[in-house]
Amino acid sequence: MSRRRQRGFLKPKNLGKTFGRFLKYISDYKLQLIIVGVAILSSSGANIVGVYLLKPIINEYIVPFIGSKNPDLTGFIRMILLLGIIYLTGILGTYTYSRLMLNISTGTLKRLRVDMFTHMEKLPVKFFDTHTHGELMSRFTNDIDALREMISNGIPNIFNSTITVVGVFIMMLILSPLLTILVVFMLVLMLFTVRKIGGRSAMYFMKQQEALGKVNGYIEEMIEGQKVVKVFNREEKIKDGFEELNETLRAASTSAHTFAGILMPIMGNLSYVQYAITAAAGAIMAVNGIIDIGTIGSFLQYTRSFSHPITQISQQMNSILNALAGLERIFEILDQEPEEDAGSAELVYAQKDRDGMITEASEPTGMWAWKIKNGDGTVSYIELKGDVRLENVTFGYVENKTVLKGVSLYAKPGQKIAFVGSTGAGKTTVTNLINRFYDVPDGKIKYDGIDINQIKKSDLRRSMAMVLQDTHLFTGTVMDNIRYGRLDATDQECIQAAKLANAHSFIMHLPEGYNTLIHADGSNLSQGQRQLLAIARAAVANPPVLILDEATSSIDTRTEALIQKGMDKLMEGRTVFVIAHRLSTVRNADAIMVIENGEIIERGNHDDLMALKGRYYQLYTGMLELA
């Protein structure tokens, strides 16, 4: 949460390329952008021309008539009307470009968000292992926010300010080259000040961000561990540690804000100095007849309109660079390789004809088959049975650190295979490979005789349901969450599944039963209740293969005994992989694999392994000192 606020003032690494890609993104709005350009031009142009008109108004329509009893005001009126028309164009321009930019920015941001999200959904699990949630969240919040600022404010502002500075300068030259020379001197001074202070300010802001990051990190860590702090009486120590970081932040932050805060008064007052010089110099020139009053009037207005756009340009440049750095990070995500999915075998409904040949069915038949496209354009069907083999599989999450070493195993359809072993031995890894959360570099995994790399990933996963170690629920009703297993399941089927998982009774106790809303990953439910829902979700999915990874670890043993029957029914006729800490859960498995350090060190059924008096026996009797 707090990390979101830590906006770094990092410069983009490859400015040109990033900006180029950005242009491609907003090129959908090419026509609107052209109109925006014209509108900005008319908006700032109107202001510049309007000020210029002061000169002829004074010189030609006011001064000549001073003291006249019967002045001819028609020319004056005409000038005022002309001024009105010019100003109206300007106002129209301002509104047009603001309105169009709103369109462009909201549209572009939506497109970017959707692109990023849909791409993210396609990325391999490995990507999520190596990026923290905070980091990825920050792409969606900070980086997009900075970009919004850039599109709706930064770019139009810079454009606007540049036009103003250039336009005003040209007008000054037209009005009085001599006075302009004076102005140039001050202008250079202003630019120099902006560069100096702006640079300092950016540097201190970076320092501030660093200090802020540390303070926020400390806050997060300590508040999250607040209860431990209390239990250990560490309050005073913690306060001291915080005070130190807080003071560092204060010092850095004061410098940063000082430089940001003095820029405006310096620029504003420098422009007054310039105003004073111009007024005095102009007056002297007027006394000597080199210049007229109208010119001085217009010129003075121009000198005042210099400082603001220059300050703007400097500030907006910083925020644009910041936004582009964020955009670069967004593009980095978009450039990540999606999950590899070269498989072509698809999962289809199937039926057997009289000869026992498998054909494709258009409706659910209770039977599934793999549809394989052969090289010669023909298709063949293989019945989905749930036969899973691992052949000599070696795997590691990071290079040079193998988690599984040459594992081979064979699960016959309908068998229950259990994995046993200490934490970190590699049990979960096996299941992660079977559903291709990770790809195997060495060895083969075959599913009904097909190499799983040949199967379309989505179809492979649809053929198996997983109940994972950490149960995750989604915002929505309880019913929605159960239906997550199969989107077209009826309410009745969902309730049936909940009953099977023994979740029905606690659901009925919730304030609105199945319609109770679940918030923030189900924080209003206990861990055990969440696991029951996850089991119901798997039951609704009704797949031929089931993977249960510590599915009942948070359910107390009494409740576990209660749902045992349901679990047995759920597992019936399916190939099941079970990982369990509690050995009681795996006892009736057809085959138990004891994994240690990435290798299967024992395999067999309960009786075999007990007779072996090996690791399993040890684990088992260790547990069983009560018997």
């Binding site: 001073i66 959707v114 915080f242 003071e247 204060r250 008064p265 005095a280 859960t585 069983l624």
Partner: protein, 575 residues
């Protein structure tokens, strides 16, 4: 709205006080400059008085430079004051939270506490800076520029009588109407972000059930909602610039026309007209800035309210009435008719009328289903929560009689959710005892069966742990937290399901070590596994907040049906 927080300024008060003063000085200097300019034109040029021109010019430059100096000063002071203010708030908040009881923490929840300490403080700092600087500058500018223009020409200034209300009303209407729309937009934002967060956390579930299309569709809807909400909100806001321009241009035109006529009529001078135009810009720009600042200060009001809420929170548990000299003399624990409710509601009890007594040095097991109240029960002993009814005696005295620090030093607790902090293993262990010697640390680790795995790391006790101890396995973390608690050399040691991730053999060894090495300490073990409590002196069975049975393993097997049921459920798989 800052009133309550003003004490947070501390020694930066004088800067907060000087800032607006300097702002006022700067503004007044600034406002005089166009007036002098008018004098140059109308007196200097008219009379051809070069000396007057130069003199006035120099005065103007000096004034501008003075204004610059004051501007820099108030820029600096505002930074010092507002940043110091933020620091003060942060310190007050943090210190206050350190005094919070568990009930206080539960009430606010951890993420909300973090937001208040981070983003809310930043908002408060920002709006404080605005208030002492811009909220002073703009109105003063508005007023003094108006006064100047009235001085120059009373009649002409009637224009502002129209302009100011029209522009003010426009800004007001935009702000009032945009406000609810912005709120709606923020809500749409939150929804969308929640959807991203959810997907990040549950990515494996999404992939396992092949729901990416489904999630994409949900997200696209959420993103579209954000787009529409943002457009709806900002559509109003973008009216402010053209409205501002409209009024300003109208003013310039009016000033030119009426002013021009006055010059012709001889009641006004051209230089006055020029300064008049400058003043109208100053007036209208200040009005616009005031409206911006107003909106953002209003928006930050919620942040300040959230901060004040914490500072005003009544601390649930204090030891003000405790006896400072009282020490915990032994590890006996007695519960007398204890009832407890998290909501302090007698009709919603988590624990109901619990009675039992533990002798010093005994080992006690507590067994019960999920949500039966085991954790709640033991948290009352170190006074992490206060009882609703009845009392708890530790070492012969009501826990409320002890100084909190004394009590909690004597009662060590290993929480279910074990937390380690970034730093080395040794630093984490020293939380138990700042002055623990290496020998003591090693001994505690050996008892907790942590020594071997610590030594297997290349850096041993100096191994750096990431935040939350991310680079350790669950079982390793649990063993470290036990060692950390042991270092306190407590009279009572409470292990709340603290070996759930430790394998059974190690679990047994830890219990053996505890019996052997800290025999004088009362040990209370909450466990799921019967095996973990089987050899306890006494086992307490809790069911639905009530004590269902107390006795040894054999006694309970005979007399207690729940205990027997739990035992059977665990035995069945095994025997």
């Amino acid at each position: 709205m800052f009133k309550k927080l003003l004490p947070c300024l501390g020694k930066y008060k004088k800067y907060a006080f000087l800032t607006p003063i300097f702002v006022v000085v700067e503004v007044i200097l600034e406002v005089f400059i166009p007036f002098l300019m008018a004098r140059i034109v109308d007196v200097g040029i008219k009379n051809g008085d070069t000396e007057f021109i130069i003199r006035t010019g120099i005065i103007m430059i000096i004034m501008a430079l003075l204004a610059l100096g004051f501007g820099v000063l108030h820029g600096r002071f505002a930074a010092v004051a507002s940043v110091g203010f933020a620091k003060g708030i942060r310190k007050k908040l943090f210190d206050k939270i350190q005094d919070f009881s568990f009930a206080n923490i539960d009430k606010f929840t951890t993420p909300s506490l973090i937001t208040r300490l981070t983003t809310d403080v930043t908002h408060a700092q920002h709006s404080f800076m605005m208030v002492i600087r811009i909220m002073v500058r703009s109105p003063i500018m508005l007023i003094s520029a108006t006064i100047m223009s009235i001085t120059i020409n009373r009649k002409l200034s009637l224009i502002f009588l129209f302009a100011i209300p029209v522009l003010g009303l426009t800004f007001y209407l935009v702000a009032v109407n945009a406000f609810p729309r912005f709120k709606a937009m923020l809500k749409a934002y939150d929804n969308m972000n929640a959807s991203v967060q959810e997907n990040l956390i549950a990515i494996r579930t999404v992939k396992a059930f092949v729901r990416d299309d489904y999630e994409n569709k949900k997200f696209i809807d959420a993103a579209e909602n954000v787009r529409l909400a943002q457009k709806r909100a900002e559509k109003l806001l973008i009216w402010t610039s053209p409205a501002m321009q409209l009024v300003m241009y109208a003013c310039i035109m009016a000033v030119s026309w009426f002013g021009g006529n006055m010059i012709i009529g001889g009641i006004m001078e051209p230089g006055e007209l020029f300064s008049y135009i400058t003043y109208s810009t100053q007036i209208l720009v200040s009005l616009m800035i005031m409206s911006w600042v107003f909106v953002s200060v209003v928006l930050s009001r919620a942040s300040i309210a959230r901060i004040v809420e914490i500072l005003d929170e009544k601390i649930d548990i204090t030891d003000e009435e405790s006896n400072n000299k009282l020490e915990v003399k032994d590890g006996s624990v007695i519960f007398e008719n204890v009832s407890f409710s998290y909501s302090k509601d007698k009709n919603n009890l988590t624990l109901e009328n619990c009675n039992f007594s533990i002798k010093s040095g005994e080992t006690i097991g507590i067994i019960g289903g999920t949500g039966s109240g085991k954790t709640t029960l033991v948290q009352l002993i170190p006074r992490l929560y206060d009882v609703l009814e009845g009392r708890i005696l530790v070492g012969g005295h009501d826990v409320r009689e002890y100084n909190l620090k004394v009590l909690r030093d004597a009662v060590a607790m290993v929480l279910q959710k074990n937390v380690l902090f970034s730093g080395t293993i040794k630093e984490n262990l020293k939380w138990g005892n700042e002055n623990a010697s290496d020998e003591e640390i090693i001994e505690a680790c050996k008892i907790a069966q942590a020594y071997d795995f610590i030594m297997s790391f290349p850096d041993g006790f100096d191994t750096q742990l990431g935040q939350g101890g991310v680079n350790l396995s669950g079982g390793q973390k649990q063993r470290l937290t036990i060692a950390r608690a042991l270092l306190k050399k407590p009279k009572v040691l409470i292990l709340d399901d603290s070996t759930s991730a430790v394998d059974t053999a190690t679990d047994r060894k830890i219990r053996e070590n505890l019996r052997k090495n800290v025999s004088e300490t009362t040990v209370i073990i909450i466990a799921q596994r019967i095996a973990s409590v089987i050899d306890a002196d006494k086992i307490i069975v809790i069911d639905d907040g009530k004590i269902n049975g107390i006795g040894t393993h054999e006694e309970l097997l005979r007399t207690n049906s729940i205990y027997r049921e739990v035992y059977e459920s665990q035995k069945k798989g095994v025997a």
